[in-house]
């Protein structure tokens, strides 16, 4: 892509090449690093650990729900389990998943920079994230929280027992990490691009992260204030949300969803960016309709700020307000549809190879398609009255937030794993894992659409027996899904020690990250690259590598 001399990767000749990984081996060389790549790896370790915690709570929930009676957990423990599952997965896994790990690692490299604009702030963001995580986990061990991750008032501010303040603080502090990361990315993308890397030569991964960063910077302060007010009401009984103190509980919902709906796009947009990169690489095609895909990211980010009221159709919000939000919600479907069509069109007349990241791409497209289309049912206000707060909603948002975002995350992790670690992972288990995740995911969550339409409400510890069959299917699917998620953890870690050494460009990809050695040196580029080509210029392959 760039006119740098592409060094033949010195594989055997020069074993002691300095990389960002062997630049220091002490713990403090990691904990005090300002290298965006090392910080990305630190986020990866943290996010994976939180994922295991969140998954443990999910396992408890699914195990409990295999029978209609509340027999495994008490109602109190069940409520705490689904709350911790939600808090950990939303604030500490899904929101940072792609941007904080792959974004941190790749954004500077993809635009031809040596680091992000504010490297120290980047490290500080990681510490804030960890502090937030410790708050949230300490809430779990000091009595737990049973408010649900939505913290709806006045239950959270007045009635709930348990460590609501600690959990709220966790999300509050982690929010600042998200804001600062977003800010860092915006400034980096604006000011650090290499010569010739003008806006329409940026990889779509960058566009997606730019749109995401805008939401992080503009939306997250609102949830921070909202959670702070909830905590103040709980601690000091100021009347903001509790009607007995003169407050308004529905106000909380408006403020909460003003952030938390766009937060879904914080999760899915970066994954979409990952998908664009991989689909181009494995089809050897420039992304069809590049600018439409780029601007659809911005459209989603902007329109996404005006749809929050679709969470409040039956909350006492006025009928007309409901209609307006329904209308805007349908509009946000269009940029998502545009992306899907353009991805499909990118494969047309391509040269498609089925390395494991591409299997994740196909899985993403399947799950995102189902997740996106089922959003139409919920956007239709007259139909949502029936579906709201049922398992139909649970299934829908898992398809988008987990099916879509985690599929993109896992795919991206496989795609850039050789770049990050310098090692190839074993291909066959990776393909099996991708198919298992896809199949297990559908087995787990598709039955929930059916349970939802016949009326099973969310957050039910016990349920009438006619819902059991769907819950048994769901729990069975969760086992398959769990295996699919566990496999990559094992073989990826294995590959760090025993994997085949990776070349600089194992997938014959375009993009600056494939022009530098794997793993990259600390300074990324020996000399600042000068970009002479459009993104995804697959009309010629200048780097031909075997193995």
């Amino acid at each position: 892509m760039a006119a740098v001399e592409v060094h033949d990767t010195p594989e055997l000749q020069e074993p002691e090449r300095r990389t960002y990984l062997n630049a220091g081996h002490t713990l403090s060389s990691w904990l005090l690093t300002v290298d965006h790549k090392r910080i990305g790896i630190m986020y990866l370790i943290a996010v994976t650990s939180f994922f295991l915690v969140g998954a443990l709570f999910a396992a408890l929930v699914r195990l409990e729900l295999t029978t209609p009676a509340g027999d495994l957990l008490s109602a109190d423990l069940y409520n705490k389990a689904f709350t911790m599952h939600g808090v950990v997965m939303v604030f500490f896994v899904l929101i940072p998943s792609v941007p904080a790990t792959l974004g941190n690692f790749l954004i500077p490299i993809m635009i031809g920079a040596r680091d992000v604009a504010f490297p120290r702030l980047n490290l500080f963001s990681w510490y804030l994230f960890m502090a937030g995580g410790l708050f949230a986990l300490s809430a779990a061990v000091t009595g737990g929280v049973d408010t649900g991750w939505t913290f709806y008032t006045p239950y959270s501010s007045t009635y709930a027992n348990g460590s609501v303040l600690l959990a709220g603080m966790g999300a509050f502090v982690a929010g600042f990490s998200s804001i600062l990361t977003g800010l860092n990315f915006i400034v980096t993308i604006h000011t650090m691009r290499a010569p010739g890397m003008h806006w329409f030569r940026l990889p779509l991964f960058i566009w997606a992260h730019y749109a995401t960063a805008l939401i992080q910077v503009l939306g997250t302060p609102v949830i921070a204030i909202t959670l702070l007010l909830m905590m103040l009401e709980r601690g000091l009984h100021i009347g903001i949300f509790d009607p007995t103190l003169g407050g308004d509980p529905v106000l909380f919902q408006h403020l909460f969803w003003f952030y938390s709906h766009p937060a879904v796009y914080i999760m899915i947009l970066p994954a979409m960016g990952v998908i664009s990169e991989m689909i181009a690489c494995f089809s050897r095609r420039r992304i069809f309709g590049y600018s439409f895909v780029a601007f659809s990211s911005l459209a989603i980010a902007i329109i996404g700020f005006f749809v929050w009221g679709h969470h409040l159709y039956v909350s006492s919000q006025s009928v007309y307000v409901g209609l307006v939000f329904s209308f805007i919600t349908f509009l946000v479907a269009i940029p998502s549809a545009i992306k899907t069509f353009n991805w499909a069109a990118t494969m047309y007349k391509g040269s498609i190879s089925y390395d494991s990241p591409m299997i994740f791409v196909l899985g993403f497209m399947g799950l995102f398609l189902i997740g996106g289309l089922t959003g139409l049912f919920l956007a239709a206000v007259g139909l949502d009255v029936h579906l709201h707060d049922t398992y139909f909603v649970v299934a829908h948002f898992h398809y988008i937030m987990v099916g879509g975002a985690i599929m993109g995350f896992l795919g991206g992790l496989h795609f850039w794993w050789p770049k990050m670690t310098g090692r190839m992972y074993p291909e066959l288990p990776a393909k099996i894992a991708a198919w298992l995740v896809f199949a297990g995911f559908n087995l787990t969550f598709f039955p929930q659409f059916l349970a939802g339409y016949i009326g099973m409400p969310r957050r039910y510890h016990e349920y009438p027996p006619e819902f059991q069959i769907f819950n048994v299917m769901s729990s069975g699917g969760a086992v398959v899904l769990g295996i699919g998620y566990l496999m990559p953890m094992i073989y990826l870690i294995w590959s760090i020690f025993y994997g085949k050494k990776a070349s600089a460009n194992p997938w014959t990809g375009k993009g600056l990250e494939w022009t530098i050695p794997s793993p990259p040196p600390t300074e990324n580029f020996e000399r600042t690259p000068i970009v002479m080509e459009e993104a995804y210029e697959y009309s010629h392959l200048e780097v031909k590598k075997v193995g």
Binding site: F330, N342, A344, M365, L383
Partner: protein, 329 residues
């Protein structure tokens, strides 16, 4: 209730309309989803890489195609929007002849009162073919009153009133669920709605469930409200000469002019606010003299008081209507 099925029971006049929209969107999604799926699978097979150094033809994009696949889905989703909007509007507009039931949610039970005064807990007995309007509130936290067989749901919000309505069409017993998470026993905040033939319903009203009859008196809410109006000394200001507080006959359901110059519809929520937080919206021409009744009235008592105030204005309208009828006659 009982055996599982893939379709919820349909027992209200909305049920088939909601189902019809569900099926419509479902079919569109199926066609569309299958279309994309088959296209991707087709491309995936047809354009499989044949050799490692294969370089495919590069295509930048296609503007007419982009416009086509933006505008067509837009048209389709706008149709979905319109259908959903019309349905929602209908679901939000109870007919004038609907019977008004009141529902209060509290951790973790539903308290229901019939217009005739009968009370129930976690049960709702109603006659077929009669539009029923529910006025709902909550005593503590948020709840949501959900009857899947009717396809209706409305949040119970502390501090305000929400309404929902339906017309039951099929006799039987159906679930009532709390759909908004409300704490420990959220999943036990369930009940049943019993739809009966009108004759059976009249019979039931007379005999009723002995068990719940003892919950409280089964007087009509406005009668209890009238007593409360005396006991709480509302009469002192609101029923003498009208200098201390506004007279309340004929007020409910009409616009009221406020001191601020605005006008407001005197509905349940406004009357409730005026009792709990009297200085919030003062009627033009009056002083902020009224003390708050916050903490002194239960949600049930508030509903009874409001029912009484409502009855004051219904008799007023009736009298006027009768008056007009007499004149015309």
């Amino acid at each position: 209730m009982g055996k599982f099925s893939f379709w919820p029971e349909s027992a209200s006049s909305f049920a088939w309309e909601v189902d019809a929209l569900y099926i419509f969107i479902g079919l569109v999604c199926l066609v569309f989803g299958l279309g994309v799926f088959l296209t991707v699978v087709g491309f995936a097979i047809k354009y499989k890489r044949k050799s490692d150094d294969e370089i495919p033809e590069q295509i930048e994009g296609n503007l007419p195609l982009e416009i086509f696949w933006s505008v067509v889905p837009l048209g389709i989703v706008l149709a979905m929007f319109a259908w959903g909007a019309v349905l929602f509007f209908k679901m939000s507009t109870p007919p004038a002849e609907a019977l008004n039931f009141s529902v209060v949610g509290k951790q973790w039970m539903w308290k229901v009162q019939h217009p005739e005064g009968k009370r129930e807990i976690n049960e709702l007995h109603i006659p077929i073919g009669q539009p029923i309007k529910l006025t709902i509130t909550a005593e503590d936290v948020l709840h949501s009153f959900y009857i899947p067989a009717f396809r209706t749901k409305i949040d119970a919000v502390p501090g305000r009133y929400t309404t929902s309505w339906f017309e039951p069409t099929k006799a039987g017993e159906y679930h009532i669920f709390c759909a908004e998470y409300c704490g420990l026993d959220h999943s036990r905040m369930i009940g049943k709605v019993v739809v009966m033939e009108p004759t059976q319903y009249t019979q039931w009203l007379k005999n009723g469930n002995v068990a719940v009859a003892s919950v409280a008196g089964n007087e009509p809410p406005e009668a209890v409200g009238a007593r409360l109006f005396e006991e709480q000394r509302c009469v002192t200001c609101h029923q003498t000469n009208g200098t201390l507080g506004p007279m309340l006959a004929g007020v409910f359901g009409h616009e009221v002019k406020l001191q601020s110059g605005e006008t407001i519809m005197a509905d349940e929520t406004y009357v409730r606010e005026s009792i709990m937080n009297p200085t919030a919206k003062i009627v033009a021409g009056f002083q902020p003299l009224m003390p708050t009744y916050q903490g002194q009235l239960s949600e049930d008592q508030l509903i009874q008081l409001i029912a009484y105030i409502k009855s004051l204005s219904q008799t007023g309208i009736q009298t006027q209507a009768e008056h007009r009828a007499e004149n015309e006659g």
